[in-house]
Symmetry: C2
Subunit: 193 residues, 2 copies
DNA sequence: ATGCACTATAGACACTCTGTATACTTTATG
DNA sequence: CATAAAGTATACAGAGTGTCTATAGTGCAT
């Protein structure tokens, strides 16, 4: 895919989010989007087959950016305990960020359309891997309880963070405090007695 | 609202779910719904202003039913620890049930439209109350850690259960095992040291 | 039973959006 | 500069929306 093309896709997707912010999802159409993006409707259809895929492109971009940043940071932390805490802190920070509030939050609970929801879940899977890796390493090193299923526990941890999200988005809970609360709950839960 | 009317609303909402099951959300329209429900389009518009509200009605019905059953059961269990475990078990059972798989699951992550998502969250709030009541009572009785925020922890617990949902729906995890895993994590987390 | 209020219905209306196709123009680049 | 690729204007048929009007059925109290 040419640089020009992918740049245009980004710009169009961003414009779609602007429109959603202004008029709500229901009132955003391929037609209004084409007009706002300063592009003909025909051109827009060259870029995306329908509105779902526009939103999808936007979400994928955001998620990928976030996930790769976290993956890089996590790669620099060898201790599984600390790595887990770091990932948790990154997520709470992100949920409290302006980026998130204006973005993913806009799309309801990340699940505009089933397509989008599935895509987000897939894109998030490296994060899931990161967490379950922590758990596996911790188990191998004897720090964590051996009877845990790392896969299931990884999704529990991410679920816990997802549950914290509304509290962070609303600003009722500071990201640091949230990170501490979740970390302590999780680390207590996985640590070997 | 007359009995006749609310009965019809239920029937129409159920028909909408059938259609979604057969053709997917995107292909269900007010027109196709009217036809399938054996009612004129004009009549349908007398019952619901748009498709979102049809789905909304269905979801509200399901959630209300479930929540009131759990509330009743929980009311009969005085000990906060056991009550918490009971609520957790009810939810894991429900997520593994055929009802759930065919219903809420159908609508993506419960969040078809932002309207619906918000409504579900509101309808779920009695459940949230139930859980935070457990926590408060447990704190008063000295069983649970005093420094927890019952509101926040309640949503963490429900978030945890939400994270367990995909594992239950897919059948990869048995409801009993899930309930035990979540219960132990939660009870360990809240119990006073 | 007659009349009244309520509910349902058929059909038509103007409107918006979709997805696709055609033919024309601009722009990049080998 | 030739030519392929990318963009544009415009038109089209089709589907769905939301509203309205006129008509028909249904239940119920007087």
């Amino acid at each position: 895919m040419s640089r020009h093309r992918s740049r245009n896709r980004e710009r169009i997707a961003a414009t779609a989010m602007e429109l959603i912010g202004e008029h709500g999802l229901a009132h955003v159409t391929m037609s209004s989007l084409a007009e706002r993006a300063g592009v003909s409707r025909a051109t827009l259809y060259h870029y995306f087959p329908d509105l779902d895929h526009v939103l999808l492109a936007w979400v994928e971009l955001q998620v990928d950016r976030f996930v790769s940043r976290v993956a890089q940071l996590a790669g620099e932390e060898p201790d599984p305990r600390a790595r887990l805490a770091l990932i948790i802190a990154q997520l709470t920070d992100y949920f409290a960020s302006r980026d998130h509030r204006l973005g993913l939050e806009q799309l309801g609970t990340l699940a505009v359309a089933p397509v989008t929801a599935r895509a987000v879940a897939e894109r998030m899977s490296p994060l899931m891997e990161l967490v379950s890796d922590c758990l596996r390493t911790g188990q191998r090193m004897g720090q964590f309880r051996a009877e845990l299923d790392p896969e299931v526990h990884a999704s529990l941890i991410l679920g816990l963070l997802g549950a914290m999200r509304p509290h962070l988005v609303s600003g009722r809970y500071a990201p640091g405090a949230a990170a501490r609360a979740v970390s302590s709950l999780v680390l207590d839960g996985v640590t070997r007695r």
